[in-house]
């Protein structure tokens, strides 16, 4: 037996420990990733701890206290730091509870559409041929449909609610997952480690779930972050148009819709939820960009 073992081994040993710390450092060094992560983490905590953080009940109406301006106005008060809306509900509490709706819809939609799109894309990419033709046809059909229009039409037929919006968007936003999963799988299909597992007689589900999926997950996570942002914006759009989350739920889009009549004289009713929406979507996009930079091919080792 040739025990020809080279000294290279020793030098490559500590790269094990380095790998994780390198990931940690490149995360910190990537500013957009760090900022995005920070904002999303804090908004996540806000959403989770909403009952404890919100100063008032977000549904409690007080008509004697309508349209109180926020704290930076001369007439503002600390009882309602961000003022109240036209029904006298505390705006800060509604904003805090609205975080829950936005994050819930964003994440659940990304999960549903991710499941649909990844399944279709991986199957199309792996099998090619007729399977690919069918999936590509579905994909083209889907891309030909304007999302907002279809979602509006469907929501007006079924009736808008948080569940409807989530399911509708989940069933509509799978296209990017499918495109990315398909092309990434096509590249992996001929990889020699996939061939090796085929030659071993591995069952199909093993090849797809254990050999292919972990190696395309990086690209899919980037798509997922962008779809979360997309879904949050679409939910706000649908709620603004009255076909999404229904009142009195504190959806940010709904808050903007309810405030649009007061836009000229009490602009904060629109700017506050608008700014919240902007910050959340920006943070998610920053995170997505950062993840894409991290997962970009840096070397053969990644």
């Amino acid at each position: 037996m040739a025990q020809t073992f080279s000294p290279q081994v020793a030098s490559e040993q500590h790269s094990v420990a380095n790998w994780q710390s390198r990931l940690f450092h490149s995360t910190l060094n990537n500013r957009s990733l760090a900022i995005g992560l920070l904002i999303i983490a804090s908004l996540g905590i806000v959403a989770l701890l909403a009952p404890w953080l919100a100063p008032h009940d977000p549904y409690l109406q007080n008509t004697a206290n309508r349209m109180v301006p926020p704290i930076w106005h001369e007439t503002g008060s600390w009882t309602h730091p961000l003022g109240t809306d036209r029904l006298g509900r505390d705006y800060l509490s509604r904003l805090i509870y609205g975080t829950r709706i936005s994050l819930f819809i964003g994440i659940v939609v990304a999960l549903i559409s991710g499941l649909i799109g990844t399944t279709l894309g991986v199957l199309a990419g792996y099998f090619g041929g007729r399977v690919d033709a069918v999936v590509s046809y579905l994909l083209t059909t889907r891309l030909a449909m304007p999302v907002v229009l279809v979602a509006l039409a469907m929501a007006s037929l079924i009736g808008g609610s948080m569940i409807t919006v989530t399911l509708l968007l989940g069933l509509l936003l799978w296209d990017r997952f499918a495109v990315v999963a398909r092309s990434a799988t096509q590249q992996l299909r001929d990889a020699e480690y996939v061939q090796a597992s085929q030659a071993l007689g591995c069952p199909l589900h093993y090849i797809l779930l254990r050999e292919v999926l972990p190696n395309i997950a990086g690209a899919l996570i980037v798509v997922a972050t962008l779809e979360v942002a997309n879904a949050i914006l679409l939910e706000a759009t649908l709620s603004f148009l009255g076909m999404g989350v229904q009142p009195p739920s504190p959806s940010w889009g709904l808050m903007i819709a309810e405030g649009k009549a007061y836009m000229f004289f009490q602009p904060w009713v629109i700017t506050i939820p608008g700014a919240a929406l902007f910050i959340l979507v920006l943070a998610i996009n920053l995170l997505g960009d950062g993840l894409r930079d991290l997962s970009a091919p840096g070397g053969r080792n990644e």
Binding site: M1, F5, Q8, V16, Y193, Q195, A196, A199, G201
Partner: protein, 334 residues
């Protein structure tokens, strides 16, 4: 596992008129072309020997390997392993007899799995032994290919090319197959590591009684390793014989050119002129007659009309009686 094979059958592998045709393109507007990647290949590989398969890139070597591994269905002909046809064999049953070692150790190991998982996969898929026995076997196998114990917990990304190729060898041999298809296992490695891997392959061959089909375009590697040699050109075998026959007395003009093309370590000699002229012809439109005639230095008019058959070379009686050493060549004038 090798005892499960029929030990009486002296041939580990036999190919009978094996062929693979691909259809290319073919949309609404243009006709599809056919590409005969492997064309009427017959080959017998005796047990315990190393059969070298050489030829230019694109001559069908890798397609042949894929058919043997059951990854591609042949368009025609038979593959017999230990005397049994594999055409309708179950992939799992096939996997126990034949395993691949691939060319590029950077793409042949899943970057997301630990070495222990990669090497133990065959045992898990075929449900051989308990998890504990599997772990022991993996450890033993890693030791046999010259990897330290701690390698089991590493990821492929933490290893050098030579180490990765050792892992690939361990994965191929852990089920003790009879036949190993080595598809250019050293061409992606540094020259200094190539020799180590080749010697490891030779050691393991003796230890496990393996038969290798060794695909390569590196003649020096083949000369070091192979007992017999088959030369492929455009999907066909043009010459076959023992290592000595091929290297000392090549009969086919293509084999002669191939041998002449080998670079020498002497500096300053430059790239040898092998007199083949034009590059390889388009395999979708192979030349008429002998596929090699447009590049052949000794082609005669007959060559562009008649395709020569691969036939045994007439030899002295003493050599012919020694079975298996018979050489074959496909040329009108060899």
């Amino acid at each position: 596992m090798s005892s499960a094979a029929n030990p009486r059958d002296p041939l580990a592998l036999e190919l009978c008129a094996l062929a693979k045709t691909f259809k290319l393109g073919g949309g609404m507007l243009h006709k599809s072309q056919t590409l005969k990647a492997v064309n009427d290949v017959s080959l017998r590989v005796p047990r315990g020997q190393v059969m070298g398969l050489v030829g230019e890139s694109g001559c069908g070597k890798s397609t042949l390997a894929k058919m043997l591994l059951g990854l591609t269905k042949p368009s025609g002909g038979d593959v017999l392993i230990n005397g049994k046809a594999i055409v309708n064999a179950n992939q799992k049953a096939l996997a126990r007899h034949i395993q691949p070692i691939f060319q590029d150790p950077y793409s042949s190991l899943n970057p997301r799995q630990r070495i222990a998982q990669i090497v133990g996969l065959p045992l898990r898929i075929h449900a051989i032994g308990t998890p504990k026995e599997q772990a022991l076997k993996v450890e033993e196998m890693l030791d046999m290919v010259g990897l330290p114990k701690r390698a089991a917990q590493q990821y492929p990304g933490q290893m050098s090319g030579g180490q990765r190729q050792r892992v690939a060898i361990a994965r191929a041999l852990i089920m003790r197959p009879d036949l190993v298809i080595c598809d250019e296992p050293t061409s992606a490695l540094d020259v200094s590591v190539q020799a180590q891997i080749l010697n490891l392959l030779l050691d393991l061959k003796d230890e496990f009684g393996l038969t290798y089909l060794f695909i390569s375009h590196d003649l020096a590697v083949v000369e070091h390793l192979a007992d017999r040699l088959a030369v492929m050109y455009l999907g066909r075998i043009v010459e076959e014989g023992t290592r000595e026959q091929i290297f000392n007395a090549p009969r086919h003009p293509y084999t002669q050119a191939l041998l002449a093309s080998a670079l020498t370590p002497e500096p300053g000699l430059g790239v040898p002129d092998i007199g083949l002229g034009a590059g390889q012809p388009d395999p979708t439109q192979p030349p008429s007659g002998c596929a090699f005639h447009p590049r052949c230095p000794v082609a005669k008019p007959q060559c562009s009309q008649q395709s020569p058959a691969l036939s045994a070379i007439a030899q002295g009686a003493a050599q012919a009686t020694h079975q298996g050493s018979q050489a074959r060549v496909a040329c009108h004038f060899a």
